[in-house]
Amino acid sequence: MRQLPCPFCGARELREFVFHKTLPAAASATADASADEFARTYLRVADPQLSVEHWQHVHGCRAWLLVRRNPSTGAVLAVQMLSGTAP
């Protein structure tokens, strides 16, 4: 269904949200920080069943969201507020 359940606003139409990026597969934990940064920035592992993404509810509450979707069906699997720790 082409709605995203915004944790703050409730279900809203997809057109209110803007996709930003896909998360790469877990970046390798090498000592080389720039190599990690490179993988994070450039590399993706395609999984036809699961895409983990950053979206923003730009045309609503502007919350940044962590969205899990199935890119083969468009099904939204989970949405949560984006949060993390300082770099």
Binding site: F8, H59, G60, C61, M81
Partner: protein, 166 residues
Amino acid sequence: MQTQSSRCSIDRQAHGRVLEFAAFSWPQPGDAMVGWPSVAGAVRRDALNRAILLHFAPGRVLAPDPSAATEALLDAAAAQGVGSGIDVTGKWEHYIIAGPDAARLLACAIEPGAVLENRECAAVTLFDCPAVIARTHAGFELWLQSSYSADFLATAERFRAALQRT
């Protein structure tokens, strides 16, 4: 701009200072403060039923024309490390959309029933213009980002006129 008709009106409301209070996180402990509209989309109203705190985005509260009591509440929240208050006077313009066609006018842009389901206010985009809407007894009140207001009113007027014809 003010437009009047028997079915639907859009009237600009005068107002003074407007603050936004942004919490450092949401949901978070400050929600427990007395008088805080902690639930998503909650609105706290004064004795005259005017909205004084609108929780329109995660941890972000709009405080139009803050009274001394409201300012004290926000200051206390800031002092407790809940978040920061920001004076945004001039960012938002206030409108009342009223009349039997008020909901139908909004339905040209969003489905107001669904958007305001289980909440008193919501951040929306109306005719490409960012706004916060809330229900009032007569229809809806609208806080509109001011740089968009001229275009918003022009587009709303087109739809309003079309509703009038039908």
